[in-house]
Point group: C2
């Protein structure tokens, strides 16, 4: 009857747990007990720990890997803040025509757009291009949507395809509209924290007639290292932030560039 175990082993076991869940997509608690050879209580404790780090989502009876995907129903039910992202997504989807070619970026906000897009029933021949695995997964099989995925190097953290190949693949396309995410916005414009992402987004700008950035208010006044676009370069900002919040951050947009969600 072992009662305490070195911290190191605990961490190793939790990493193992993360890998197990990632590999199988879903694991019931009892199964985890078997594989890790620990009691139910310990498994549950491990699950809350791993979930806190944001890599899995617990369900009744087990746990899911969230491959960078926010399982809407679960997270909502778990009492989290009512998602501004959902409202942003609704607003973005309203911008999308019934037919044409649009691009969807990676990131949880744009993933919400993909989700909301599946609500639309009036789509006929909408071509959606994305570099987001999550968006592709959600939109795969949606009626009225022809889905294309850009190639590229897989970035684990974003579950997105980036790099030279992705940029090269962009050259084949011309979009009616593109919906992009960002990690920070301030007076100067939109910025992102990863060079790969920023480079990709910069390469995308000239390929789209309309460029819509979708950022929730938490991104306000956050400066991240890589500049992506100035306010002049984008067609619209879709956000839940109010005008006064924007002005306080030094952002002043003409009415036709500001879409309040």
């Amino acid at each position: 009857m072992v009662m305490r175990v070195p911290q190191e082993l605990v961490d190793l076991r939790r990493e193992e747990l993360r890998r197990l869940i990632r590999r199988d997509g879903f694991l019931p608690v009892a199964e985890i007990c078997r594989r890790l050879a620990v009691s139910e209580a310990t498994v549950r404790r491990d699950l809350v720990a791993v979930e806190a780090n944001g890599h899995i989502t617990r369900t009744y009876g087990g746990a899911l890997a969230d491959y960078n995907s926010s399982f809407a129903s679960v997270t909502e039910r778990s009492g989290r803040a009512r998602p501004a992202k959902a409202r942003i997504a609704e607003c973005a989807v309203a911008q999308i025509p019934r037919t044409g070619t649009v691009f969807l970026d990676a990131g949880t906000t744009i993933e919400a757009v993909a989700r909301a897009l599946t609500h639309r029933r009036d789509l006929t021949r909408l071509v959606v291009v994305t570099n987001s695995l999550a968006a592709a997964t959600v939109l795969g099989g949606a009626t009225g949507v022809e889905l294309h995925v850009l190639g590229g190097m897989f970035l684990n953290r974003q579950a997105a395809l980036m790099g030279a190949q992705a940029i090269k693949a962009l050259g084949d396309w011309s979009f009616d509209a593109a919906f992009l995410a960002g990690e920070g916005m301030d007076a100067a414009g939109i910025s992102n924290s990863h060079e790969h992402i920023a480079g990709f987004q910069r390469a995308l700008l000239p390929q789209a007639q309309r460029v819509c950035f979708c950022l929730d208010a938490s991104k306000l006044d956050r400066a991240t290292p890589h500049r992506v676009a100035t306010w002049r370069q984008l067609s619209a900002l879709i956000t839940d932030a109010s005008t006064s919040q924007l002005v306080a951050a030094g952002i002043r947009l003409p009415a036709n560039k500001y879409l309040h969600a």
Copy 2:
């Protein structure tokens, strides 16, 4: 207190259920009740119906979308046939060097290879290229693996990327080994049922030094319309079928081309 409803409405509701689960990835039973406004009993009945059609996987407390992905633990636990695919996958993974560049095709068999690959701990700089969203999802974040995804049009049924762009993207690569799936094998060779897939695989053959096809015994003597490769063209067949089974189907392979799983 409505007691019976037209068949048509039942079917519509079940399609709706499939879409709901697909969109959210996971839904608890209670949530489904709310959204479809039916009782728990009906939801459970619908779940078994939809699951029988193979689009979702039930879990304790809800249901998962299986985006063309076989949730190993769940399906194994549900008493299904002991997967020959797993043994094929083990055998395939043993062929993969610690470093180099390999290609993984779409299909559940190759997805099993991806899963098995995550078991390997000795990988250092293995470059994996795939056109399978499922494989990408599984391998994303695997240690020692640099993952690339080919671009292309998303085929719903296979959850794979195909078409002209995928073939074009192939041109940038040269593989040490490629692991491909097929839907039929007979005396003439390997065949597939979809033109897009067959075309893509034919384009891949010259890009790989070793071409390994992975097909389980159920594919024996099944003729599907689109020829992909003759036995001369491939480097190895990885299968659980025995030599005598192969011979009975008119397939005779040199020892170095036959890997028994």
